[in-house]
């Protein structure tokens, strides 16, 4: 009669019945909690709307993004009409089409730069947290250096310098070169927060008993990092990356708004840059991209918020 504790015991009526199926894993559980979180779901819906426009943009957009024909018909700066649902701007572009195409650019920038940042950040932070000691000191001082410099000004300078340097080289033939440069630069400057989280998670998890248990069984270092530590660090990392996507989109909008953007790609910030002087005459041309930026960034922030709650249920209860 030794292990009677949880075995062969008739579980009384009213109590939960024994379920003999596969239980939900951590991700599925997090999703179940996420579904109950209204603001998180709202954020997800916003992000999905932006994603939808980015994917099917060319098919639903009423005009080509570079179609300035309205200018020839003297319909530039036209308020919203049936022909131009969100009006046209001072250059004769259809605002609705530009906003729809802008979604692609925004997501491209946000996700692209965060892929770069995540690779750097997880590598740096993970190494720092896992090895500790001298390497940790050096890497963290390096991270702090990136956190204290006025990133935005540096980015503007770098974008401008890059734009000048490539003139007349073969590089110029790469499509959307400037945009790619912005993405890489945003990524390179966006990794420190990710590195900090990765370091904290690696530090915490490497001391956990289940990691020690794996070491007791003779598991190697790579095995421990990739099978034990990284999967458990992912929730926190995914949250900070989702926040970073919103941040990057906002930064790109600011860069374009100041006229440092890629003139060849359609971006919401650039729309604002073209039209802010005519804010009083044709406000629709500024309001629409402004709203798009707002919705997208809000969406990613709420999504990140919802994920935090879903992954750490104790914070709320």
């Amino acid at each position: 009669m030794t292990h009677q504790e949880e075995k062969n015991i008739p579980i009384s009526k009213g109590s939960e019945t024994v379920r003999k199926t596969r239980g939900p894993g951590m991700w599925r559980l997090a999703w179940q909690r996420f579904k109950r979180n209204k603001t998180g779901v709202f954020g997800l819906v916003l992000v999905l709307i932006v994603l939808f426009f980015a994917m099917v943009g060319p098919w639903i957009s009423p005009y080509e993004p570079n179609d300035q024909s309205a200018m020839l018909e003297f319909r530039s700066k036209s308020p919203p009409t049936w022909k131009n649902l969100l009006g046209t701007d001072r250059m004769g572009y259809d605002v609705a089409s530009r906003v729809i195409y802008g979604a692609r650019t925004a997501l491209f920038v946000g996700l692209g730069s965060m892929v770069v940042a995540a690779v750097f950040g997880i590598l740096m932070g993970g190494l720092s947290g896992f090895t500790g000691g001298m390497a940790d000191e050096l890497l963290m001082r390096f991270t702090e250096f990136f956190l204290v410099i006025p990133v935005f000004v540096v980015i503007l300078v770098m974008v401008r310098i890059f734009g000048i340097v490539v003139v007349g080289t073969v590089l110029e033939r790469i499509p959307h070169l400037n945009l790619i440069a912005i993405i890489v630069i945003l990524g390179v400057f966006g990794w420190p927060p990710i590195a900090r989280i990765a370091r904290a998670e690696f530090l915490r998890l490497k001391e956990m008993e289940f990691v020690e248990a794996a070491r007791c069984l003779g598991a190697g270092t790579l095995n421990i990092i990739f099978r034990h530590i990284l999967p458990n660090a992912l929730p926190s990392l995914v949250v900070i990356i989702a926040l970073g996507v919103g941040q990057s989109i906002l930064l790109e909008a600011m860069i374009s708004f100041l006229g440092f953007g890629d003139p060849k790609s359609v971006s919401w910030g650039q729309l604002l840059y073209f039209n802010y002087e005519h804010l009083k005459i044709s406000p629709w041309a500024s309001i629409a991209p402004g709203m798009a930026i707002f919705i997208t960034v809000l969406g990613f922030n709420l999504l990140a918020d919802g994920m935090t709650d879903a992954f750490n249920p104790r914070l709320k209860e």
């Binding site: 030794t2 015991i9 009384s12």
Partner: protein, 331 residues
């Protein structure tokens, strides 16, 4: 020892206490009709495993049930007042002055940014309306009583400068500052080493006699209650199993859960070496989920004596002998 004669006035009388926790997963029926009483100067041991509701019951006496818990009913008569009817403002005057609490983890229950003198003096100044100088004198005196050497200089120290045992002494001093009538001690020695535990237990019994305080000692350690308590209340899944004098609980337990609990612990005073294939007695099954508690007697799914009746009828507390109440249909 137990004084259960009619003349002495009960200091505390809890009856029909009902507390539910409204969580996302459902309503947890944490406390369901709990009753116990206490006379002045008496020590009651509140014993149970995790989820039995012993800590929640003691917090309820101060009306400090953590959210999302809610007191739904019952009476907490303390010195002829019913605490259930008291407003938060009135409770603030009672907490720390007439009923004080000693927590399980002394490290968390002292504020790290204030010195010992500041945080203990504060309580005196608030409850007794005295100035800082007088408060400091009283605090020094109390620190001396709880066995802290050189109390005057300790006033200027921060909690992190003290060892775990010292911190618990400070917490005890803090609880006793206003000479409360009742002290609630929630697992006061669980986080301490045995030799420090012995020091703290001795200190508590000394001070109890000196101030003629009543004490509710919440613990899962049967050794600690056996040495400290006059009477013991055993709780299981939010209900009372039985209440009796310590002697009767240990020598003549009536409730099947009490019996199971007593027989399942290894004894430090017993030799196991000459027993072939030694085993401990086990309580089958597991602690129930209180969102869907078992019907009838909450212990029936794990009880060796249970029959169909036990799964239908909720047992009432009944007196089996003077001062010994049991809630079991079989008694």
């Amino acid at each position: 020892m137990a004084h259960h004669n009619q003349q002495s006035q009960a200091l505390l009388d809890v009856s029909g206490l009902k507390i539910h926790f409204f969580t996302g997963a459902g309503v947890v029926q944490a406390i369901d009709g709990v009753e116990f009483g206490l006379e002045s100067g008496e020590t009651l041991g509140l014993v149970g495993e995790s989820g039995s509701g012993k800590t929640i019951s003691s917090l309820a006496l101060l009306k400090l049930v953590p959210r999302p818990g809610k007191i739904l009913g019952g009476h907490i008569r303390f010195e002829n007042d019913d605490l259930i009817d008291k407003s938060e403002a009135e409770m603030i005057r009672i907490r720390g002055k007439r009923i004080a609490m000693i927590f399980q983890n002394p490290a968390f229950s002292l504020n790290p940014i204030y010195t010992i003198g500041q945080q203990l003096g504060e309580i005196m100044m608030w409850h007794e309306k005295i100035n800082r100088g007088e408060a400091n004198d009283r605090v020094t005196e109390m620190l001396n009583l709880v066995g802290i050497t050189d109390p005057a200089s300790r006033l200027k120290q921060f909690p992190h400068e003290l060892s775990g045992g010292m911190k618990q002494r400070v917490c005890i001093a803090r609880a006793l500052l206003c000479k409360p009538l009742l002290v609630l001690a929630d697992e006061p020695t669980t986080n301490l080493d045995v030799t420090i535990q012995a020091q703290i237990l001795e200190l508590l019994s000394d001070l109890k006699t000196r101030f003629n305080m009543a004490m509710i000692l919440v613990t899962h350690d049967l050794g600690v209650v056996a040495n400290m308590a006059d009477r013991i209340t055993v709780m299981y899944a939010g209900r009372i199993c039985e209440t009796a004098t310590a002697e009767r609980i240990f020598n003549n337990p009536q409730h099947p859960y009490t019996r199971a609990l007593l027989s399942t612990i290894p004894r430090v005073d017993k030799s196991y070496t000459n027993i072939q294939s030694k085993r401990l007695t086990v309580v089958p099954g597991r602690i129930p989920n209180l969102i869907h508690p078992p019907t009838g007697c909450r212990f029936h799914p794990r009880c060796v004596e249970a029959n169909g009746e036990c799964s239908r009828t909720q047992p009432e507390l009944k007196t089996v002998e003077e001062g010994h109440v049991v809630s079991c249909l079989k008694r």
